[in-house]
């Protein structure tokens, strides 16, 4: 980001710790600003810089739930075998560029 303020910012998650079971879907919300942009992607990674994407946990934008500029409704899905020890970061990209990340997703 080179010090620029990101266009999309995650201030918090809708739950203090989002817990996802193997094979299950967990709906939750990203709270912040800039979520009304159309080309946002959400993903899970192991650090605040958006590196080291975790392929066994997918976060998709919930097409059946309302999202606004201030929050984004998403669904996390953890495949069996996903790491159950770490607490992961939920991150967003805008047009493929990393914007922000927030810690607080755990797999059980």
């Amino acid at each position: 980001m080179c010090g620029d303020k990101p266009e999309v910012e995650i201030e918090s998650l809708s739950e203090p710790l989002v817990v996802v079971s193997w094979g299950d879907d967990k709906p939750f919300k990203l709270i912040g600003r800039g979520f009304s942009k159309k080309t946002i992607d959400a993903f899970v990674c192991t650090n605040k810089h958006g590196n080291d994407v975790v392929p066994k946990i997918k976060v998709t934008i919930d097409p059946n739930a309302t999202s606004t500029d201030g929050f984004l409704s998403v669904i996390a899905h953890a495949e069996p075998g996903a790491d159950t020890e770490k607490v992961f970061w939920v991150a967003v990209k805008l047009n493929g560029m990393f914007q922000d990340a927030q810690e607080g997703l755990k797999v059980i």
């Binding site: 809708s14 079971s21 193997w22 094979g23 299950d24 879907d25 967990k26 709906p27 919300k29 709270i31 919930d62 097409p63 059946n64 739930a65 309302t66 606004t68 201030g70 929050f71 409704s73 669904i75 069996p80 059980i108």
Partner: protein, 188 residues
């Protein structure tokens, strides 16, 4: 998402519940493990093997505008994460739990709603003709859930079997109240 009213709503069934976190359906095993079946429609197999198939504990359903709570929650096959019946939330999410006004009837199948659904409740919408699976789970000692239900001591001191397969032919309608022992009077 459009909340339009359509003709399909006439036969829609809205299941309200929560997915089970401790059970995973593995539809991929049906093909290699099963003996080939003569039937070709595979409706149930398709439902169980579909992407996102899972089991959910269903507390209530709505149909033709009526909200009906199950006498005892039952487990049904559902697909995907379901939808939030209370969507949309207030713009300030801090008030989400306080804003329990009725959601869109496209999400509840109801014209009005008294009371609020629990916070984590999701809704899955099906057609009443869709094939599914219902599991009425029962817990207890083996004596309660196996011996009393299936066998009883006859007058000669031995165990006699219950009616067996024929006594099970009643189907779902006769079991809607939940678990019923097959020999009345044995469940003390």
């Amino acid at each position: 998402m459009g909340d339009n009213e359509t003709l399909l709503g006439v036969s829609a069934v809205y299941l309200f519940g929560r997915s089970l976190n401790d059970v995973i359906l593995r539809g991929s095993v049906y093909e290699p493990l099963g003996i080939p079946k003569a039937g070709t429609n595979n409706f149930l197999r398709s439902q169980l093997a579909a992407e996102g198939a899972k089991l959910a504990r269903i507390y209530a359903f709505s149909f033709e505008g009526a909200f009906i709570e199950l006498g005892r929650p039952a487990i049904f096959v559902v697909h995907g994460a379901g939808s939030d019946p209370d969507d949309p939330p207030p713009s300030d999410l801090g008030y989400e739990r306080l804003s329990r006004s009725p959601g869109s009837s496209a999400r509840t199948g109801l014209g009005s709603q008294i009371g609020a659904l629990a916070k984590d409740m999701r809704v899955w919408i099906y057609d009443k003709s869709d094939l599914s699976m219902r599991l009425d789970a029962e817990t207890g000692t083996f004596e309660q859930i196996l011996l009393t239900a299936e066998a009883s001591t006859d007058l000669r001191g031995g165990m006699s079997r219950s009616g067996g397969a024929l006594s099970r032919s009643g189907g779902v309608m006769s079991r809607s109240g939940g678990f019923i022992p097959r020999r009345s009077g044995d469940n003390d």
